[in-house]
Amino acid sequence: MASYDALHLDQDEHVILEVRKHWIVFVGHAMSLLFGAVVPFVVLILIARFAPHVFDSLVIPGNVPALFLFFYSLWLLFLWITFFLDWTKYFLNVWYVTEKRIIDVDQKRLFDREITNLRFDKIQDVTLDVHGFLQTMLNFGSVKVQTAAEDSGDFFMTMVQNPDEVRRVIFSQHNEIGDRPLGRRMSQVGMENK
């Protein structure tokens, strides 16, 4: 079960939706890593085919297949670590939608993290853009949350999975905040300013 202590939510506040990019952002990187895993074999085959003299001139001691396996396993480990470094950046780049606000966690690089909060009463509009065959079939697109705040810009995320659900949840929370009696909203603001 997920635990959101690091977000420092209010006592009556809970995360109702996590918004992340679609898994397709990984396809390009995964393909390149797969290619990288195959490259040693391709290089060996090419050398054996077009420059076999290279093998004749190299005097390699010991068990050559074991040596190749040793280097190849280290190469795969390197690719494996690279994949998870990229995955971590993808996974930690997220919007947390609560009953009161949207928390935008922008993991730009591994040691570069920016967190922005946007209260629902500051939202002017939510725009989603699903463009093209692939986005329509796989249900992903870009989501833009326009704000009325002077000190914060719009929230924007591309390749969001299930963007319509994101828009629906944000709008429903925005409307719920708007429908609350003014006195209750003012008392909430007063509690937060203490």
Partner: protein, 84 residues
């Protein structure tokens, strides 16, 4: 008059003995250096997953998968080195 040209041949390359670099002590040292780098990067990843992962199920799966496959690859490297 028929002239037959000799087939195109690559020039002979000088022999290169790699025993000075491809030996068990050097390869073990390379493995240790690689392992140190792996530990540093794994610590960075573990810190990020613990601090910001919110104990999400995806993080738990990722952590298990990452360590499991890494262990298998290190074992393969060690076995390959022992058979070298």
């Amino acid at each position: 008059m028929d002239t037959q040209f000799p087939p195109l041949q690559m020039p002979n390359l000088p022999f290169l003995k790699l025993s000075f670099i491809l030996n068990v002590p050097v390869l073990t040292g390379a493995l240790i250096i690689f392992f140190v780098g792996y530990v540093i990067l794994t610590s960075v990843l573990m810190y990020h997953w613990s601090a910001y992962g919110m104990r999400h199920q995806g993080v738990l799966i990722a952590r298990t998968l990452f360590l499991l496959v890494s262990a298998v690859l290190f074992i393969i490297a060690l076995l390959a080195l022992s058979y070298f």
